[in-house]
């Protein structure tokens, strides 16, 4: 099998020395143009443009459980979320949540019940929206606090006394967002680039419309790239010693007629042994935090593909990796993520925040 090109790791990431050409203009350079001059000219990131980090800290069983309450966490785990990126929100205030709840509730009622006279301010409104903060779900001091939105509603022909049930939830978050970018934002903008929504009842598009109207932002679909899926595989497998992943499952699809799906499941211990065999001898400096490099991740994947090839003489590279899952969670290339275990959420969210920031057009 051919070796993969390692060109990703060779691109210079921090060409800080390059000066911005036009200081007088007040526009802000886009995130993707980074600091490299060459990439400003093209629509797509040039060869020297910013890319996903090639090295990450190994995930530790985060102290998230100590910080965020159990009830709040329960809302986030065990649901499959659809991912989108959001451009920075203009004049979004974390202190105005009650007002936002009312506004969004009225907006949804107006859209859903078009043509009917409805008292949106009173108790007749069938939709109740609540905005809340997940205070401790941040990684760095520059991260904006995570905002959780829930919509409760009664089923269509419910009795009077039946309580409202949550029919939709979504959350905006920024975990360890790129510092340079965050600091380069003008004062009134709040950056919460990752939007996770449950896929229920057409409410997602309404919520997005309201945000777009109220905060002049833009939503877009966020797929999980092949590289990100490989990262997740490695990061999750890395947790095996502390918390068993039970198995590492990958789902590939091969482009033949009719489409062939390959589900490749590896036992937890064996995946862990392969992973640790590709780890480089790390100098555990900086207080014992060793980092994981993209090369190790790619060797891990290569090992798995190689084992498969030796048996079936079938090259998985010809296909597409669609889904990766372990006991800690699952990720699909179509842009869906599920956290089965809250312990390692932060690291996964850091990766996804990075992906969202990279995909944003501005």
């Amino acid at each position: 099998m051919e070796r993969h090109h390692n060109s990703v790791t060779r691109t210079p990431l921090n060409s800080v020395a390059v000066q911005r050409r036009s200081k007088s203009k007040s526009y802000r350079l886009s995130y993707r143009s980074g600091i490299g001059a060459a990439s400003r000219l093209a629509f797509t990131p040039g060869l020297t443009g910013r890319r996903l980090n090639t090295s990450r800290k190994a995930p530790k069983s985060d102290k998230i459980t100590e910080k965020v309450t159990k009830e709040q966490l329960a809302l986030l785990v065990k649901t499959e979320w659809k991912l989108s990126y959001v451009t920075p929100l203009y004049q979004f205030r974390h202190t105005q949540l009650k007002s936002y709840s009312r506004q969004l509730s009225a907006f949804i009622a107006a859209e859903k019940l078009q043509g009917m006279a409805v008292d949106v301010e009173g108790t007749q409104n069938p939709f109740r929206v609540s905005f809340s903060l997940l205070q401790e779900m941040t990684e760095s001091a520059d991260d904006a606090v995570t905002v959780l939105i829930q919509i409760h509603s009664k089923p269509l022909f419910a009795r009077q006394d039946e309580p409202q049930r949550p029919v939709w939830s979504g959350w905006l978050t920024c975990i360890n967002g790129n510092l340079e970018y965050l600091r380069s934002l003008p004062k009134d903008f709040v950056c919460l680039p990752l939007f996770c929504s449950s896929e229920a009842g057409g409410l997602t598009s309404l919520v997005k419309s309201w945000f777009q109207q109220s905060f002049d932002c833009c939503f877009g679909p966020l797929e999980i790239s092949h590289t990100s899926l490989q990262w997740l595989m490695a990061l999750w497998t890395n947790c095996q010693q502390e918390s068993s992943i039970r198995q590492l499952k990958m789902i590939w699809t091969l482009p033949v007629e009719p489409q062939l799906q390959v589900t490749y499941t590896v036992d937890a211990e064996d995946a862990w042994q392969l992973w640790s065999s590709v780890r480089k001898e790390n100098t555990a400096g900086e207080g014992g935090e060793n980092s994981i490099d993209i090369e190790e991740v790619m060797s891990f994947m290569q090992g798995l593909k190689g084992h498969f090839f030796r048996h079936f003489r079938l090259d998985l590279s010809a296909g597409r990796l669609n889904e990766v899952s372990t006991a800690l969670g699952s990720a699909k290339s179509s842009g869906r993520i599920k956290f089965s275990n809250s312990k390692y959420m932060i690291t996964t969210l850091m990766l996804l925040t990075e992906c969202a920031l990279l995909k944003m057009p501005i």
Binding site: L254, P258, T265, H307, H311, R313, L314
Partner: protein, 343 residues
């Protein structure tokens, strides 16, 4: 027994799609002209159920007649539910000469000895298949017609196909089969699928097979735009196509849905010494699934995604007629194991 009759009628009407009902009832042949016409004119399933119940009263039909109706439908539409293949091994001297009458009598009597309360129906279909419908009961209850087991056996061959069978029922079926066919063992053939016709064709090789030939046929695939590529690729592509067909067959291939391989082989990679030195096997499982698995695998081979000649692991599916394999490093052991291909 009216309640159980009613439930059986409901189940049958629910299962048989509207467009097949007419022909199935006709084949059943227990309705007179008037009743048949009455059934044909009804649309709703609820009304059909009521009508059929009335007819049963009129014609004094019992549960066993209704079981017959269900069986006729199954025989003519076998490609549903899950079928599992079994194989009879170690034939005795008289195995080849068992004929239908013998088999029928012996199977019924043996099974009735083993399971006191059981209802068995045997029918021979036009294509040499013997269909058996078994409703199981036990010491405390009458045969349950709502959960029957269907068994299909091709006389003169060692192949048997079975639908749902619990672990309690298996030994009894096994014993009855073995005694009535004069073989020694009734073993799991590690082949399962939704289409009876597909797994039967696969096991009994009733599909177009392609044999190695010195004279390769010209490539008949989609038009290439670039004549240089076409010329350069013609021979390798023709080779791949030939080998793909040799491994999997030509023409229409039996429709399998999946194949599962449990791998328990060592991890061998000369670039990774740590893993290669491990004593334990690298345990993983691979499942291939597709609307038509053999077609997909054949296309993988002919398009080059899978290297040709096709690895024995994949070509075993049609060769051995199995879709469940356990692969270890040992040499060829029991029939379900295979030697790992060396790199």
């Amino acid at each position: 027994m009216d309640e159980s009759k009613k439930r059986l009628v409901q189940r049958i009407i629910r299962r048989i799609p509207a467009k097949m009902l007419k022909t199935t009832l006709e084949k059943w042949g227990r309705l007179n002209g008037e009743q048949q016409r009455a059934m044909d004119s009804i649309q709703s399933k609820w009304a059909l159920t009521e009508s059929l119940l009335d007819i049963c009263e009129e014609n004094e039909l019992a549960v066993k007649h209704l079981a017959e109706l269900e069986m006729i439908y199954m025989i003519n539409n076998p490609d549903q539910g899950m079928w599992y293949a079994f194989q009879l091994t170690d034939p005795g001297d008289e195995a080849q000469s068992v004929d239908l009458m013998q088999f029928r009598e012996q199977f019924k009597s043996h099974l009735k000895e083993l399971v006191r309360e059981v209802s068995v129906k045997i029918k021979k279909h036009t294509d040499e298949a013997v269909w058996i419908r078994i409703a199981w009961g036990d010491a405390y209850s009458r045969p349950d017609h709502l959960k029957p087991t269907y068994v299909v056996h091709y006389l003169q061959t060692p192949y048997v196909f079975v639908t749902r069978l619990t672990s309690k029922q298996k030994p009894m079926l096994s014993q009855a089969m073995v005694l009535s066919t004069r073989y020694q063992y009734f073993k799991d053939a590690n082949l399962s699928g939704r289409n009876l016709t597909a797994i039967r064709d696969l096991l009994m090789r009733k599909y177009q097979q392609v044999f190695p030939t010195k004279y390769l046929s010209p490539l008949t695939e989609r038009k290439q735009t670039n004549p240089h590529i076409e010329r350069e690729q013609a021979k390798p592509a023709a080779n791949r196509l030939q080998m793909a067909c040799e491994a999997f067959g030509g023409g229409t291939l039996p429709q399998l849905q999946s194949a599962v391989y449990k791998l328990e082989t060592k991890f061998r990679d000369h670039t990774n010494t740590l893993m290669t030195e491990r004593e334990e096997p690298f345990r993983c499982a691979v499942k291939f699934s597709s609307k038509n698995l053999l077609e997909s695998l054949k296309n993988c081979a002919s398009s080059g995604i899978a290297s040709t000649p096709v690895t024995p692991l994949l070509s075993s599916i049609p060769l051995k007629g199995k879709n469940y394999f356990v692969i270890t490093d040992n040499g060829p052991g029991p029939s379900s194991q295979m030697r790992q291909t060396q790199n």
